[in-house]
């Protein structure tokens, strides 16, 4: 079965991302914008259209009034992005749920490795219960 990743993002203002940005700034991490998404990694033989339709009609995962759905072309985080997953979540489950955080600096560039590491270690990921995927 093929694994595919979908991002469920808010299309209304994301208060959680804003709060994360304020908290990271308080920690001295030079972040000016934070994007957050719920990631769904799904192992399925269904077509992309069918899978999209299933997600968009599952009220536990998707609300058309406030979410947009995007299929990720790559199965790994982009520059300036970290995926956070619970340590006890089975990695072979047919549906894996992760959280994506993407951090940008004042110039709109994705945050570099050292700063992203600090953001993970100090706020975005509690390594006692979560793993950060970079």
């Amino acid at each position: 079965m093929e694994s595919r990743a979908y991002a469920v993002e808010l299309k209304i203002p994301d208060n959680e991302a804003y709060t994360a940005m304020r908290a990271l700034a308080r920690l001295g991490i030079p972040v000016a914008r934070v994007e957050r998404a719920d990631l769904l990694v799904i192992a399925s033989d269904e077509s992309d259209d069918m899978l999209r339709e299933r997600i968009e009609h599952d009220e536990r995962l998707f609300n058309p009034n406030k979410h947009r759905l995007e299929r990720l072309s790559d199965m790994r985080p982009r520059e300036g992005e970290v995926w956070v997953e619970m340590l006890d979540a089975p990695r072979s489950a047919p549906l894996r749920r992760l959280v994506s955080w993407r951090l940008f600096d004042q110039a709109g560039k994705p945050l570099g490795g050292e700063e992203l590491d600090a953001a993970c270690a100090r706020l975005l990921c509690n390594s006692a219960i979560e793993r950060a995927i970079r």
Binding site: N15, T19, A20, L27, R122, N126, A128, I129, E130
Partner: protein, 255 residues
């Protein structure tokens, strides 16, 4: 002079009134302090972080509050030996802040109270047995050994989780102050309604001046909390859960 206790309120805290009232009933000068008043915290002898959903549980339960300016004062106070008790969301904040079990650096958590094993919120009356020696945690020291305290487990994220190394350190170091128990006082991981590791309901720190307690004793603290009370009973009389708060105030008076 009565001990001065600050009951901390973050945006989303919701159990501050009954927590303050119970502290007052137990003899403390307890006052509610809001997140915008962090500068006033140095005035207080002790801190209590009540339950709720601080900062709407954004990122993780307790994660944002652990970095709030209020916690700067709590961390400074705990390092100076002041007593700190967190209940439910307050306990989650103390673990995120690294104050309990405190086996790592400050604000680098080594454990968490995280999602219940059943994957949803639970609300049920539980019994907690004091399972640490009196000298291990000042806040619970005035309770009789093996005391059974009634409380309400009302949380979606109350399961203690950590790496096996850290759990071993927590167990070996006597950090578990209360465990879930049955009416005979027996304990065991199977009695933790949310699957909490070690059957733990509450953790202290190395110094024993911090208590992070998941269930709510303040919701079983007066007779009016009991639907099965008898006709004519004083509804404002204290009941089982108040014993922990009495112990907390006793510890403050001895300091």
């Amino acid at each position: 002079m009565k001990a001065r206790v600050a009951v901390l309120v973050f945006p989303g805290t919701n159990s501050e009134v009954e927590t303050r009232d119970l502290l007052v009933d137990c003899g403390a000068d307890a006052r509610i302090v809001h997140w915008s008043e962090a500068a006033s915290l140095a005035y207080y002898d002790a801190f209590v972080l009540p339950g709720g959903f601080a900062y709407e549980d954004r990122i993780r339960a307790g994660a944002i509050a652990a970095h709030d300016a209020m916690l700067d004062a709590v961390i400074e106070g705990s390092e100076a030996g002041k007593l700190v008790m967190g209940i439910c969301n307050g306990a989650q904040i103390l673990l995120e802040a690294g104050l309990a079990p405190g086996t790592g650096a400050i604000r680098r958590p080594t454990a968490a109270f995280t999602h219940n094993i059943q994957g949803h919120f639970i609300c049920q009356r539980v019994l907690l047995r004091r399972d640490a020696a009196a000298e291990r945690c000042a806040i619970a020291a005035a309770l009789p050994q093996d005391a059974l305290i009634p409380a309400w487990a009302a949380h979606g994220q109350g399961r203690l989780a950590a790496s096996s190394e850290h759990l071993e350190e927590i167990e070996r170091g006597g950090y578990v102050v209360f465990r879930y128990a049955d009416v005979r006082g027996a304990t065991g991981a199977h009695l933790a309604p949310q699957g909490s590791a070690l059957g733990a309901a509450a953790l202290t720190n190395r110094r024993g001046n911090v208590l992070a307690l998941m269930p709510h004793p303040e919701r079983d603290a007066w007779n009016f909390n009991h639907l099965d009370r008898r006709e004519g009973e004083d509804v404002l009389a204290p009941s089982g859960g108040s014993a922990l708060f009495e112990s907390f105030v006793t510890a403050l008076e001895r300091m």
